[in-house]
């Protein structure tokens, strides 16, 4: 394999998304319906005409770089959360971000193109993710009949998301209450809890979404959003 030249890449842009940390990002594209993100292209490198014709494309592939997974390295096998965290699969049989080359692949809905700025929805990408490429999705080539992935045969179960009275009051004061509500529901309904922390229904979790910190817990009735507060943790993207 030493015949290859080293490969080096330069990002074409960056993702701006409501997800300010990896926790609670839906574990696949296509799940977070109606949650918008932005792709900002590098204006010094990419001219606007490089996007000409994209308005006739409904879904695009975003090929990105899992920049926040890089430091952890990779292992040959991983334990997918949807298998309860006990079954090991080879990394190439999964979509784990911890890969030899941590390249991500997300199919997103393209809502609008405005100069070097793409409005998208249904992404699954951390705020600040470097974008490497954008490609049109071609349904006639990329939607084979009878395709199957045995260990992940269907979308994950969707939980009900309820807001406690305090959280309802807090969300009402947010300048973009409807957007925030949708981000919270579409992020938490897929049960973001690690497999190892699902046994105690009183346990609370905190996650940074948009400009707030959200506390929630999960029991048999679904997800209960407890509090919504202005961001306090300063180790996250603004």
């Amino acid at each position: 394999m030493s015949v290859f030249e080293p490969i080096s890449l330069r990002p074409i842009g960056v993702v701006r998304s409501p997800w300010k940390e990896k926790f609670a990002i839906p574990r696949q594209s296509g799940l977070a319906r109606g949650v918008e993100s932005i792709v900002e292209l590098d204006r010094e490198w990419i001219p606007a005409e490089a996007l000409r014709g994209l308005e006739g494309v409904s879904h695009v592939w975003l090929v990105c770089w899992f920049h926040e997974s890089l430091a952890d390295g990779w292992r040959p096998t991983v334990r997918p959360p949807r298998l309860g965290g006990s079954v090991r699969l080879g990394v190439f049989a999964t979509r784990s971000p911890h890969r030899p080359n941590p390249i991500s692949l997300s199919l997103v809905r393209l809502l609008a193109v405005d100069d070097r700025r793409l409005r998208i929805s249904e992404a699954d990408l951390l705020d600040g993710t470097p974008v490497l490429d954008i490609k049109p999705h071609l349904p006639w080539a990329e939607q084979p009949e009878h395709a199957r992935c045995e260990w992940a045969g269907a979308a994950p179960d969707r939980l009900e998301v309820h807001f406690a009275a305090q959280a309802e009051a807090e969300i009402a004061t947010h300048p973009e209450a409807a957007v925030l509500r949708r981000v919270i529901v579409e992020s938490l309904c897929w049960d973001p809890r690690p497999s190892s922390q699902r046994d105690d229904p009183t346990r609370t979790f905190a996650v940074a979404l948009l400009d707030v910190d959200v506390r929630f817990r999960v029991d048999a009735a679904g997800v209960e959003v407890l509090t919504i507060e202005p961001r306090r943790r300063d180790n996250l993207a603004p």
Copy 2:
């Protein structure tokens, strides 16, 4: 955009395919039905267990490096062959290999996994292409309803492929005649001719497939394979 660290990649393996030059490679994955390729993983880096569970996956994404398109660089707009070569589209609205980061994306059928060797079909990759990543295709996330790409709304038209008497005689002497016939038919039926060279039905073209050189022409009746000869050109992969 200067916040990003430079990104460097190391291929995890290489594609072995019947396509020994770019000319006549089908212009998308999923088209060359029944044409097999091999992914050979780097045995010094990738352990066999990294593929555990892949046998339960019918289709995988191959993320590769368009190594033979690199030297030509990229332009903001390209002229897709299917639009007759006269319409310019932004490179990100197309699947052209000449991209800012020349990363390819191919959805292929996984036939078998044998240690660090994957048998696949329906690829569209040049022999010797470096492989960067392998991911399972997840139909429930990656087959959205009502997806559309207006400028490429359906598979390209398929031409009939006929073999002249001389080509029939030559193919019969090949040790893998049936494989060779399928590679020829599934490569030429999509009309590989450049848009600018379609006006003269007597013009002949040559292409390297497997271990032979194939000469053909295209007229209103379809593709006529004229001759099939052992490889003579030494500027190609063996």
